[in-house]
């Protein structure tokens, strides 16, 4: 067998391994509901969940687009804001002394508890969900950016000093690229947090989105629809994380 075929074979095998886990878990679910005679309003069998997904596919997609939009906006704000906050803290020691303690205190707050306040402040619309996604997601970006900047190898900093690089050149050509692998780690951590933020935002006050759909399905005791919404959320979160990971993989110089 030639190399290309062997590679294709092993990648097919790896895919099978991944799919196999889901199939086994799915079968266990389906059979367990049957064997233990679990009532459908507690745990519907997988087949009826999948049926519900298929029946409600248009509606699920619409709601996923709503929630997805909130997540993407909040996440983008978190990455941008997190990096900017970190840069300010890194560049100005006074910003570090003044704002870092505030930031850490804020991070200690259960942000779920802030959700009702956000609705009061910015209303029932998209903005309160975007704000929640932002608040959940920005902190790891700040921390990872700061860590990356501080972790710039000392001998490279000395080299840049020796060639008389300006602070701006040092930042743009050394510190920022050196920090990128760490920043990417922060971005990966932040993605699922943004999802949680948006869903929590929808729980507190909303007429649209997958979080709202979960509450609605719950109120109507339609557990199959609730699970369908959960499937949609995991699919959405998975796709978004995968996109972030693809972008992060472009920063290939980590751990060299």
């Amino acid at each position: 067998m030639n190399a290309a075929l062997s590679r294709a074979g092993s990648s097919l095998y790896a895919t099978l391994e991944r799919v196999a886990v889901f199939i086994v878990l799915g079968l266990l679910w389906e059979k367990a509901v049957d064997i233990f005679a679990i009532k459908p309003y507690l745990l519907p069998p997988l087949s009826s969940v999948l049926r519900s997904v298929w029946h409600n596919r248009v509606m699920l997609l619409d709601q996923a687009l709503v929630t997805g939009g909130e997540i993407v906006l909040g996440y983008a704000a978190a990455v941008l804001g997190g990096v900017l906050i970190a840069l300010a803290i890194f560049a100005w020691p006074i910003a570090y002394r003044m704002f870092y303690p505030v930031l850490v205190l804020f991070q200690g707050l259960p942000k779920i508890a802030l959700a009702p306040l956000m609705v009061i402040w910015v209303g029932y619309g998209t903005s309160s969900k975007v704000l929640m996604a932002f608040m959940f997601a920005f902190f790891p970006v700040v921390i990872s950016t700061l860590g990356g900047l501080a972790g710039t190898p000392e001998h490279l900093v000395e080299h840049f000093r020796a060639i008389k690089a300006s602070p701006w050149t040092m930042f743009r050509r050394l510190q920022l690229p050196a920090a990128l692998p760490s920043i990417m780690d922060g971005c990966k951590t932040a993605m699922p947090l943004a999802v949680i933020g948006a869903i929590v935002g929808e729980f507190v006050g909303s007429q649209r989105g997958l979080g709202y759909l979960i509450l609605e399905a719950n109120a109507q005791a339609r557990t199959d629809l609730l699970f369908a919404a959960l499937v949609a959320i995991s699919a959405l979160a998975g796709v978004l994380y995968w996109i972030v990971e693809l972008l992060a993989n472009r920063v290939w110089w980590r751990a060299l």
């Binding site: 001998h155 490279l156 000395e158 080299h159 840049f160 000093r161 020796a162 060639i163 008389k164 690089a165 050149t169 050509r173 050394l174 690229p177 110089w253 060299l256």
Partner: protein
């Protein structure tokens, strides 16, 4: 003292114009414990001269080199002049190569070399010209698109040398640039360094703890004592140039220099 070895005092070399003048330089690092790294060091290096600074590890020779480079300041009272200017900050006249290479992992070999010149504000076309002229001399032509992690240790140090040379400094400061390499690669790079130096005739200070390397390369060897580093010896090496590993290292006077320096450093 061994015959044929002539000690040259700083004053007697007045004929040679000094490129580097180090006067009464001391350095104490203040911290939890005060460490006196250098104690009253005075020497100068003539224009185009190749000087090796030899000393045991931890004797402050790297500190001395960083002071000459303007990266750290000596204690009050000491002065460093490079090409007539007081060296209180890094300058474009001076190129430095450290033991650990300074290559950015996210840039290709060529981009790494270019960067050092770009920072200096040299026009892109001029940089390209310099790089094209330099890559063959450094034997790096076919690796220009490679990233540092794809290069051998020797190639990385050659690239680091290229980073310094592309800026066309008048003075080259080398801090054990080949110390991390295996003996064979190291010897080979020393030969190449010598050939390069013969072409460009820059003023060079090489810091090393290898006696044979210091003697083989240099016009003069300065020997430093253990910490706090003091100048113990200023020895002119009268070996003919061009030098090559076989004939030069086979000469009786080469062995005499090595023995003499070894005795000074207490390892002969």
């Amino acid at each position: 003292m061994v015959a044929g070895i002539v000690k040259i005092s700083i004053l007697r070399k007045g004929a040679l114009e000094a490129a580097i003048r180090v006067v009464r330089v001391s350095k104490t690092f203040v911290g939890a414990d005060e460490v006196r790294a250098l104690d009253d060091v005075t020497f100068d290096v003539g224009r185009g001269e190749f000087v090796s600074i030899l000393g045991p590890s931890g004797c402050g020779k790297s500190t001395l080199l960083r002071i000459v480079a303007g990266l750290i300041m000596p204690d009050a009272g000491g002065t460093v002049e490079v090409l007539g200017h007081s060296q209180t900050a890094p300058s474009n006249d001076v190129g430095v190569v450290f033991q650990t290479h300074n290559l950015l992992p996210w840039l290709t070999l060529e981009a790494n070399i270019r960067l050092a010149a770009e920072v200096q504000g040299i026009a892109a076309a001029e940089i390209s010209e310099r790089v094209e002229a330099m890559l063959p001399a450094l034997k790096l032509e076919s690796f220009r698109k490679a990233y540092p992690h794809q290069l051998s240790g020797g190639m990385r140090q050659r690239t680091a040398l290229g980073q310094a040379l592309v800026r066309q400094p008048q003075v080259l400061l080398l801090d054990e640039p080949f110390a991390a390499l295996d003996a064979l690669t190291r010897d080979q790079l020393n030969v190449e360094l010598l050939r390069l130096w013969q072409e460009i005739r820059k003023t060079v200070i090489l810091v090393t703890h290898s006696i044979a390397e210091a003697v083989f390369l240099a016009d003069r060897v300065l020997v430093m004592s253990d910490r706090p580093g003091r100048m113990m010896e200023d020895l002119r090496i009268e070996l003919p140039r061009p030098r090559d590993p076989h004939s030069t290292k086979g000469r009786p006077d080469f062995s005499r220099y090595v023995l003499h320096l070894g005795a000074l450093m207490g390892i002969a």
